[in-house]
C-alpha cells in the first residue's frame, strides 16, 4: 500500500518535470501584434504601392515644428508667439542655441524621412523581382527619390554640410562622410536625373493612382531648387523651362483662395502636403497643426472656431514693402492685421494713411482681436472659419499646405534668365508678368534680377523660407539685418544639434 502511493507520487513528479521541460519550445514564440517585414509576401505585387504610399504619408503627416524652423529666418516673417519658445524667437534673431530641442527634432524628423525613403526603395525593389510591370516599380522608386531629395534639400539649407544617408539602416551614418552643401545639392540633382526617365508626364492632380503624387514636373522643380542653391542658373532655366513648356500648369486666378480650400490639388501645385476631414464634421481628421500660425485672440465669423498660438508674424518690413508697391491682393492674402499691428505701422509717419481695406477683419469676415504674442498673423496659413466643415473647430484644419507651386517655377525661370542663363520657354518678362497680372499688378518690361527678387519677396513671403535662402545665396546680408537684427554670413547655417554632435563625432570638426 505504502509502496504503491510512493510510486504514484514519483510518477506525478516525473510527469510534472517532463511537461515542464516540454514547455521549453514556447520560448521561441514570436512577439504578438507585429507585422514582420520578413513575413511580407513580395509576390503580391499589388501591394508594391504600399511602401510608396508610406513615403507620401511621411510627407503629409509631418511634424509641426519643421515648417517653422525652415521658414522663420527671413525678413518676411518674425517668430511671433512672444513669451513662448524663446529659443525659436532667438533663432529668428540669428542667435542660435545648439541645445534647442527644435533643432534636434527637425534634424531627426528629416533623417527619419530619408532613411524611411531608403527603406521604401529597398522594399519596392523586392516587389520588383516578382512584378510583371517592372517599369511601375521604377516609377515608384523614382518618386521616392524625388521626395528624398526634397528633404535633403531642406536639411542642407539649414545646416550646410551634412552626412547623406545612403542605406536603410541609420547606423551606417556612423561611418558616413560629411558632404558639403554643394555636394548634397549635386547629389540631389543627380538622383533626380536618375529618376526623371521613369516619372509620369502629368500634373500631380491629374494622377488617379495617387492624387497629388510626384510627377516629372515635381522632379524638375526640385531639380531647379537645388541648382538654384548651386547657382547653376542654366540648369535652373532648363528645368523650369521644361515645366513651363509642358503647358500643364496654370496660375490660380483667385490668389486669396489658392491658400484656402480651393488650393487643394490646384492646377498651380507641383507638390503639396494633403489634409482632410473626409468631408465630415465628426470622425477621423487628418490635419496639420495650423494652430501654430493662428491668431491667439479672434472673433470668428462662425462661432466656436478655434484660434491659434500666435506664432509666425509677418514682418512690418514686408508689410511696408508691399504697401510701397501698392499691392492689395497679395498683401491681403499674406497678412492678417490686428488693431495693435495697424497702430504700430502708423507709428511711422510715412504710413499714417493706410488703405481703407487694411483692417482687423479679414476678407472672409473673421475679426482678429489684439493679443500679446504678435501683431499680425500669416494669411497664407489661415482658413476662414466659414470654410471649416461644420463640426470642426481646429484652426485651419482640412487645408492643404503647398510646397512648390507654379508661380515659384516661373519666378525661378525669370531669376535664372536675369542671371544670364538662356531659356527656351519665353522671356523673363513673360514669366514675371504672368505672376504680376494674377496679383492685379500691371506688366513691366526689361525685368532686372533685382525686380525678380522683389517679385519673389512679394509672391512667396511666408512660404518655406524662400526669401531667406534667396538673400543668403545672393549675399544680401543687409536685407536680413532688419528690425534690430544683425545678420552675417557666419549665421547662414544653424549649429548642429548638440545631441547629434554627441552621436556623430564627424560633426564635431565643424
Amino acid at each position: 500500500m505504502k509502496r504503491k502511493s510512493i510510486f504514484i507520487q514519483f510518477a506525478i513528479l516525473a510527469i510534472s518535470l517532463l511537461v515542464a521541460s516540454g514547455c521549453e519550445k514556447k520560448l521561441d514564440e514570436l512577439a504578438e501584434n507585429q507585422t514582420y517585414t520578413s513575413g511580407t509576401d513580395y509576390t503580391k505585387t499589388s501591394d508594391m504601392i504600399k511602401p510608396l504610399i508610406g513615403i507620401y504619408v511621411k510627407l503629409s503627416a509631418t511634424e509641426w515644428e519643421n515648417y517653422p524652423l525652415i521658414s522663420v529666418r527671413g525678413d518676411d516673417v518674425n517668430a511671433g508667439g512672444l513669451g513662448d519658445q524663446q529659443d525659436f524667437s532667438e533663432t529668428d534673431k540669428f542667435k542660435y542655441n545648439k541645445d534647442y530641442w527644435m533643432y534636434n527634432s527637425v534634424w531627426q524628423n528629416h533623417y527619419i524621412k530619408i532613411t524611411n525613403s531608403n527603406s521604401a526603395i529597398e522594399q519596392i525593389l523586392k516587389y520588383k523581382e516578382f512584378a510583371s510591370n517592372k517599369a511601375l516599380a521604377d516609377q515608384y522608386i523614382a518618386e521616392v527619390k524625388v521626395l528624398r531629395g526634397y528633404w535633403l534639400l531642406q536639411l542642407s539649407r539649414i545646416w550646410g554640410a551634412i552626412p547623406i544617408p545612403m542605406d536603410p539602416d541609420p547606423t551606417t551614418l556612423y561611418v558616413a562622410p560629411l558632404s558639403t552643401k554643394d555636394e548634397v545639392m549635386q547629389h540631389i540633382s543627380d538622383q533626380i536625373d536618375e529618376a526623371l526617365p521613369f516619372l509620369v508626364d502629368l500634373r500631380p492632380n491629374e494622377r488617379t493612382d495617387i492624387p497629388g503624387g510626384v510627377t516629372k514636373h515635381t522632379a524638375l522643380a526640385v531639380k531647379a531648387l537645388v541648382n538654384l542653391e548651386l547657382k547653376n542658373y542654366q540648369k535652373v532655366a532648363d528645368a523650369t523651362g521644361e515645366i513651363i513648356k509642358s503647358s500643364k500648369f496654370t496660375l490660380e486666378p483667385d490668389f486669396y483662395n489658392l491658400f484656402k480650400i480651393k488650393g487643394k490639388l490646384n492646377n498651380e501645385n507641383l507638390l503639396e502636403m494633403q489634409y482632410s476631414d473626409l468631408g465630415s464634421g465628426t470622425g477621423d481628421n487628418y490635419s496639420y497643426l495650423y494652430a501654430f500660425f493662428g491668431p491667439e485672440g479672434w472673433t470668428p465669423k462662425v462661432a466656436g472656431a478655434g484660434g491659434g498660438w500666435g506664432f509666425f508674424e509677418p514682418s512690418i518690413k514686408y508689410i511696408k514693402f508691399m504697401l510701397n508697391r501698392g499691392e492689395v491682393t497679395r498683401l491681403q492674402t499674406s497678412v492678417l492685421f490686428t488693431d495693435r499691428g495697424i497702430a504700430e505701422i502708423k507709428k511711422d509717419p510715412a504710413y499714417l494713411n493706410l488703405p481703407s481695406w487694411i483692417s482687423k477683419t479679414t476678407p472672409s469676415g473673421d475679426v482678429l482681436n489684439d493679443y500679446a504674442r504678435a501683431m499680425f498673423a500669416s494669411g497664407k496659413h489661415y482658413l476662414p472659419s466659414e470654410l471649416l466643415t461644420p463640426g470642426r473647430t481646429d484652426y485651419g484644419t482640412n487645408q492643404n499646405m503647398i510646397c512648390i507651386r507654379y508661380a515659384e517655377v516661373l519666378l525661378m525661370y525669370a531669376e535664372a534668365l536675369t542671371q544670364n542663363a538662356s531659356g527656351s520657354a519665353g522671356s523673363a518678362d513673360d514669366a514675371v508678368n504672368a505672376v504680376r497680372n494674377r496679383a492685379g499688378l500691371s506688366s513691366i518690361s526689361g525685368v532686372t534680377n533685382a525686380q525678380v527678387m522683389d517679385e519673389k519677396f512679394a509672391e512667396l513671403a511666408m512660404e518655406w523660407g524662400t526669401r531667406f535662402y534667396d538673400m543668403v545665396r545672393l549675399g544680401k546680408t543687409e536685407e536680413l539685418s532688419y528690425e534690430g537684427r544683425s545678420f552675417a554670413t557666419d549665421k547662414t547655417f544653424l549649429p548642429y544639434p548638440q545631441a547629434q554632435v554627441d552621436l556623430l563625432p564627424i560633426l564635431k570638426q565643424n
Partner: protein
C-alpha cells in the same frame, strides 16, 4: 446499532464537568467574601524570579505586578478564578486557581522573534537562520493605515523601502526597494509582488485586511530564487489562513472617516495677482485686469482690483468619505483549516468631481490533510472594484487660473448647459476654468481580478522529503469608459459632440510550480535542499473603440453603437503572449546553528528576449557569534549574527522587443480618399537579460534579553547590461540595448526597544534609517542621455544620479542698474534689475547652456521612520513618523509661466518677488518672470523636497470581559486614527511627495481621520 462515544473522548469531558462542579461548590462555600492569593513568578528554565511581571485577574481590569523578589498578592472575588500572568519576553500564561492560596507560577521564555518563521521563495526559514535582508510587517500594523493600498501601510516601517502615495482614490502607490536599478522609461519600477505564489505587478486589488503578513525581500540572497523579475526587489504577501485545531474565530474590522486636503498651497489673491500683472509691464495683462473690472465690477476694498477673488483650490477641493468593513472567519480541525472573508472599501476623492473608488473582495482559503502523505489546498481571492479617476489636469489648472475669474459667469451667454466662466472673455489665451473638465468628463474603470490557486503537497518521506505542485492563475479584466459630454463655454472652448471611448483589456497569467524539498539533520549538520521548476504563461489582450455624438441623457445611452460616428482611428487592439520557464534550487546549511551557508541558483528562460536564457546564482553566509563560547549566554548581547551575501538578479520588466524588422501600417487621405501604406523600420533592437549584481553585508543583533533589536545592512547593487535607450544618429529612433551600468548603494539601520514597565504599562520605540546613492556608471559610451522635456531638462550623466535635474544655478538677482552695468553678461543679454543672475560654471564669461549643472535628483538620499507604541491597561497608543531628505522636486506649476505668461501663481512667489532693490535675492521680478532669460531651467524651479510627517496616530481602547445581556461581550476595540495629520516641508506645493519628482498635477495626499471598531468572538 446505536453509536456510543468512545471512552477516550468521554474522559476529558467528564473531567471538565467535574472540575466545574467542584469550582461551583467551592465558590459558594469557601470564597463567599473573596480570598487573598499570594504567589511567586519565576523563569521555568532557570528558576530565577521575575520582578515586574503582570498578574491580572481574567475578565477584569484588576491586576498587580510582582515585586523585586518576584512575589505578588491579590484578592479574588467569588466569581473570579483565573489569573493571567505575563512578562515581556515570556509566553503569557493563564492559571486557574484551585484550592491552593499560595501559587508558584513558572513562565516559559518566549520562542523569540528569532524563531519566527519567515517566508522565502518556495519555502520558509527562521529569522535566526537568515543570511539575507528581509523585513516582515504583520497585518496589525498594516490595517492601522486607512487606505485602499496595502503598501501604503508600510511607509516608514521598512528600511530601504520607499513608498510614495499617489493620492487619487484607488491609485496604487509607487514602491521602490533600494532605489531603482534600471533606466527610467524602459522598465517598470515596481517590485515583484508574490501573493500566495502568484506573481503580480501591483497589489492594488488586495484589502489590507486580506493579508496576514508582508515580507520585503531586499538583497540578492533572498531575491535570486525569483531570478526572473527580482531585480527591483520582491514583496511576498501571504493572505490570511486558518490554523489546525483552532476554534472558529469570527471578526469584524471596520472604520469610517473623512479625508481633508492638507498643506493646500496658498495662491495669490486678486489683489496680489493684480499687482503682479500691473508690474509685469505687459499691456495684454493690464488689458485683462481692465476687462475683468468692466465685466465683474471693482472691489469695494480696493477699487483698482476686480470684484472677484476666487480661491480655485478651495473651489475644487472637498472633504471626502472613506470607509472599510471586513469580516473574517478562520479556524480548523485536525484535518482541515480554513479562512474566508469578505470586505468592502470605499473612498471618495478630495477632488470635487465624480472621483471615487469602491472595492468588494471575497476570499476563501482551505487546506486539507487528505492522507498522512498528501495535503491539498486552494485559495481564491476575488476583487471587484470600480474607480472613477480624477481629471488630473484640474490640479494645475487650479494653480494657473486667475483669481479674478469667477467659477460661474451669468454674463457668459455662450456657455451651455452650465454658465461656467471663461477666461478668454477677459482676454486670456485659455479658458482656465477647471470646472468644465471636472463636470463633463468622467473616466470609469471597472477592475475585476481573480487570483486562484490549487496545490498538492506530497509527503514522500515523513519530515524529510516533500513534493509540492501548485498551479496559480490570475485573471484581470479592466473595462474603461471615458466620457466627454458636450459643452460650450464660448470663444471656441467647447466640446461640441459627446465622445465615448471604451477599452477592454484582460490579463490572464498562469504559473505552475513544482518544488521538491528535502530536510535532513545529521548530528550538528542541518540541511535543507530544494529543487523546482516553474512555468509561466502570461497573456494580454486589449480592444478599444470610440464613438462620437451619442444621446447624452440618460447614462444608459452612453454606448458606441448609439453614436452617430465611429471614427476608424479610434479603433485599436493589442496583445501579447509571453512564456517563461525556470529551473531553480536552494541549499541551506547550518552547523550547530553557528555557521550558516545559503545558496540558490535559478535558470530562467523567456520568450521575451532574443537571448532566451539567464542564470542567477547567489551565495550567503552567516556567523552567529552568540553561539560561540566567548559570547554564549552573555547578559547584554542576547544574539549577534554577522551575515553577507552576493547574488545576481534578472529584470524582465524591460519591454519585449521583436528582434526583427517590422513595418507599420499607415493611413492618409490623398485627394480626400484614405490610402493604406507601410513604413518599414530599419532599426533593430535585440535584447538579453538585464543583470543586477548585489552584495549585502549585515548584522542582526538583540540586546538586553531582546528588548533591543538592531539590524544593520550595507548594500551595493550594480545593474550590468542595463537596458538603456541608445539613440540612433539622425533619427528619433532609439533602440534599446543592454549597454548601461547603474549603481545603487546605501546603509540601512533598524533599531527597536520594547519594555514592560509595570503590569499595565508597556511601551516600544523603534526607528529605521536608510541612505541611498544612485549613480550612472556607464551609458554605452554616451556621455549622457537626456530625459524630461527640453524646457525642463533631466539628464542621466555618467557619475551622477539617473534623470537628475539639469540646469543653471541661480546666484542671485540683479538689484540695481550699477550692478547691471558692471556685468558684461547682463549687458550682452539686455538684462535689467529684477532678472536672475546665473553662475558662470565654465568661466567663459558667457552664460549659455554650457553653464548647466546637475541641480539634484528626485531620489531621497536619506529616509527615516520612527515608530512609538504605548499600552496602558486597556488603552493603547501608536505613533508613526516618516521623513526623507535630499530629494528635489521640479515645481512644474511655477514653470508653466514659460508657455503662458499672465497666469496666477502661489502667494509665496507673489509676495516675495523682486520689486525693488533688496526685496528678493532669489525670485525675479514680475516682468522678469515673463522673460526668456529667467525661464531657463534653473534651481529657481527645482526645490528641496525634504519633508517630515506624522504618518499615523492611533488611540485604541479595548473592552474586555464585560457582560452583555447575560452573555460575554465579544472582545472589542474602539480606535481613533489620524493618518498623516501633519507634514512639514519647505517646498512650495501641496506635497513634496512626488514619485518622479515632477510636480505638475500631483494629487495631494489628504489627512484622514477615522473611527474604527474591531470585534472578535
Amino acid at each position: 446499532m446505536k453509536k456510543s462515544l468512545p471512552l477516550k473522548q468521554v474522559i476529558p469531558w467528564a473531567k471538565a464537568l467535574l472540575l466545574l462542579l467542584v469550582l461551583s461548590l467551592l465558590e459558594t462555600s469557601v470564597f463567599g467574601q473573596g480570598r487573598t492569593i499570594t504567589g511567586i513568578v519565576s523563569d521555568a528554565q532557570t528558576n530565577e524570579t521575575l520582578p515586574g511581571a503582570s498578574v491580572l485577574i481574567k475578565g477584569t481590569t484588576k491586576g498587580v505586578s510582582t515585586g523585586i523578589d518576584g512575589k505578588f498578592t491579590t484578592t479574588l472575588a467569588a466569581s473570579e478564578n483565573t489569573l493571567v500572568v505575563s512578562f515581556i519576553g515570556y509566553e503569557t500564561k493563564e492559571v486557574i486557581v484551585g484550592a491552593e492560596n499560595n501559587l508558584t507560577i513558572q513562565l516559559t521564555a518566549m520562542r523569540t522573534t528569532l524563531d519566527a518563521v519567515v517566508v522565502v521563495g518556495y519555502g520558509t526559514t527562521k529569522v535566526k537562520d537568515l543570511t539575507s535582508a528581509i523585513t516582515t510587517v504583520k497585518s496589525a500594523d498594516l490595517v492601522k493605515t486607512p487606505s485602499s493600498q496595502p503598501m501604503q501601510g508600510l511607509q516608514g516601517k521598512v528600511a530601504g523601502l520607499q513608498v510614495v502615495a499617489n493620492g487619487g482614490p484607488g491609485n496604487s502607490s509607487t514602491v521602490r526597494i533600494r532605489g531603482i536599478g534600471y533606466f527610467p522609461g524602459v522598465s517598470n519600477e515596481s517590485p515583484l509582488y508574490v501573493v500566495d505564489g502568484m506573481f503580480f505587478d501591483n497589489i492594488d486589488f488586495l484589502n489590507p485586511s486580506d493579508i496576514t503578513s508582508i515580507s520585503v525581500l531586499k538583497d540578492a540572497s533572498a531575491l535570486a530564487i525569483f531570478g526572473v523579475k527580482a531585480a527591483s526587489g520582491v514583496v511576498l504577501i501571504e493572505t490570511k489562513s486558518g490554523n489546525y485545531d483552532q476554534k472558529t474565530e469570527v471578526s469584524y474590522e471596520g472604520y469610517g472617516g473623512y479625508q481633508y486636503a492638507q498643506n493646500v498651497v496658498k495662491m495669490a489673491n486678486a489683489e496680489q495677482f493684480t499687482t503682479m500683472a500691473l508690474e509685469s509691464g505687459s499691456a495684454a495683462d493690464k488689458t485683462s485686469i481692465d476687462m475683468a473690472m468692466q465685466r465683474y465690477g471693482r472691489s469695494r476694498v480696493n477699487p483698482n482690483v476686480p470684484n472677484i477673488n476666487t480661491d480655485w483650490y478651495n473651489e475644487i477641493l472637498r472633504p471626502a468619505l472613506i470607509q472599510n468593513h471586513s469580516f473574517n472567519v478562520g479556524g480548523g480541525g485536525s484535518k482541515a483549516k480554513y479562512s474566508i472573508g469578505a470586505n468592502y472599501f470605499s473612498q471618495e476623492g478630495i477632488l470635487d468631481m465624480k472621483n471615487e473608488y469602491q472595492r468588494f473582495n471575497l476570499r476563501a482559503k482551505v487546506d486539507i490533510k487528505a492522507t498522512n502523505w498528501l495535503t491539498i489546498g486552494g485559495n481564491v481571492v476575488l476583487s471587484d472594484a470600480t474607480k472613477y479617476s480624477e481629471q488630473a489636469g484640474a490640479w494645475n489648472q487650479a494653480y494657473f487660473a486667475v483669481p479674478i475669474l469667477p467659477v460661474y459667469d451669468p454674463l457668459n451667454t455662450a456657455a451651455a448647459p452650465i454658465d461656467f466662466a471663461n477666461a478668454k472673455d477677459i482676454g486670456y489665451r485659455d479658458s482656465q476654468n477647471p470646472f468644465p473638465a471636472l463636470t463633463y468628463n468622467t473616466d470609469r474603470m471597472r477592475i475585476n481580478k481573480t487570483l486562484a490557486n490549487f496545490y498538492m503537497e506530497f509527503n514522500l518521506i515523513p519530515k524529510a522529503l516533500t513534493f509540492k505542485s501548485s498551479y496559480n492563475h490570475s485573471y484581470t479584466s479592466l473595462e474603461q469608459r471615458v466620457i466627454n459630454l458636450p459643452y460650450d463655454i464660448g470663444q471656441g472652448v467647447a466640446n461640441l459632440t459627446s465622445d465615448v471611448t471604451k477599452a477592454f483589456s484582460t490579463y490572464s497569467d498562469h504559473i505552475w510550480d513544482n518544488v521538491l524539498t528535502y530536510t535532513k539533520q545529521i548530528e550538528k549538520h542541518n540541511f535543507t535542499v530544494m529543487a523546482g521548476t516553474s512555468y509561466r504563461d502570461d497573456g494580454y489582450q486589449m480592444v478599444r473603440a470610440q464613438g462620437e455624438d451619442f444621446p447624452t441623457d440618460p447614462e444608459q445611452s452612453w454606448y458606441i453603437t448609439q453614436s452617430g460616428t465611429i471614427p476608424v482611428a479610434g479603433v485599436g487592439d493589442g496583445g501579447y503572449r509571453q512564456y517563461g520557464l525556470s529551473y531553480f534550487g536552494r541549499i541551506a546549511y547550518n552547523f550547530d546553528n553557528k555557521y550558516l551557508l545559503y545558496a540558490t541558483y535559478r535558470a530562467d528562460g523567456s520568450s521575451k528576449y532574443q537571448e532566451k536564457w539567464g542564470y542567477f546564482p547567489t551565495l550567503g553566509a552567516g556567523w552567529v557569534l552568540t553561539e560561540e563560547d566567548f559570547l554564549k549566554n552573555n547578559s547584554t548581547v542576547s544574539f549577534l549574527k554577522l551575515r553577507g551575501s552576493w547574488g545576481k538578479l534578472g529584470n524582465n520588466y524591460v519591454q519585449a522587443t521583436t528582434g526583427a524588422l517590422t513595418s507599420d501600417v499607415v493611413k492618409w487621405p490623398f485627394g480626400g480618399v484614405v490610402y493604406n501604406g507601410t513604413i518599414s523600420n530599419s532599426t533593430l533592437s535585440s535584447l538579453k537579460w538585464e543583470l543586477t549584481e548585489e552584495t549585502n553585508i549585515g548584522v542582526t543583533a538583540r540586546f538586553f534579553k531582546e528588548r533591543l533589536t538592531a539590524d544593520l545592512d550595507y548594500f551595493i547593487r550594480i545593474t550590468k547590461n542595463a537596458v538603456i535607450p541608445v539613440s540612433v544618429p539622425g533619427t528619433r529612433d532609439v533602440i534599446i540595448k543592454n549597454a548601461g551600468e547603474i549603481k545603487n548603494s546605501g546603509f540601512e539601520l533598524s533599531l527597536s526597544w520594547a519594555d514592560q514597565v509595570t503590569d499595565k504599562l508597556s511601551y516600544s520605540i523603534g526607528g529605521n534609517i536608510s541612505t541611498l546613492k544612485n549613480e550612472v556608471v556607464d551609458l554605452y559610451g554616451q556621455p549622457y542621455i537626456d530625459g524630461g522635456s527640453a524646457e525642463f531638462r533631466q539628464r542621466s550623466i555618467v557619475g551622477e544620479p539617473l534623470m537628475a535635474f539639469f540646469g543653471r544655478e541661480v546666484i542671485g538677482v540683479y538689484q540695481n542698474q550699477s550692478e547691471i552695468d558692471a556685468d558684461s553678461v547682463a549687458i550682452i543679454n539686455g538684462l535689467v534689475p529684477g532678472d536672475l543672475k546665473y553662475k558662470d560654471q565654465n568661466g567663459d564669461g558667457i552664460i549659455d547652456d554650457d553653464d548647466r549643472v546637475v541641480l539634484g535628483s528626485y531620489f531621497p538620499s536619506l529616509t527615516y521612520g520612527i515608530n512609538l507604541g504605548l499600552t496602558y491597561g486597556n488603552f493603547d497608543l501608536s505613533v508613526n513618523m516618516y521623513g526623507q531628505n535630499g530629494n528635489k522636486v521640479l515645481n512644474r506649476k511655477r514653470g508653466e509661466v514659460i508657455w503662458t505668461p499672465g497666469l496666477n501663481m502661489d502667494a509665496d512667489l507673489a509676495e516675495n518677488r523682486w520689486h525693488g532693490e533688496g526685496t528678493s535675492d532669489f525670485y525675479p521680478s514680475s516682468a522678469g518672470l515673463r522673460k526668456g532669460w529667467n525661464q531657463k531651467m534653473s534651481d529657481f524651479f527645482v526645490e528641496d523636497g525634504s519633508f517630515f510627517r506624522i504618518q499615523n496616530v492611533q488611540v485604541g481602547y479595548r473592552i474586555n470581559g464585560k457582560k452583555l445581556f447575560g452573555g460575554n461581550f465579544p472582545e472589542t476595540k474602539i480606535s481613533f486614527t489620524a493618518d498623516r495629520p501633519l507634514t512639514l516641508f519647505k517646498y512650495h506645493g501641496f506635497s513634496p511627495e512626488v514619485a518622479n519628482g515632477i510636480d505638475s498635477q500631483t494629487y495631494p495626499v489628504p489627512s484622514t481621520y477615522t473611527v474604527g471598531l474591531n470585534v472578535k468572538f
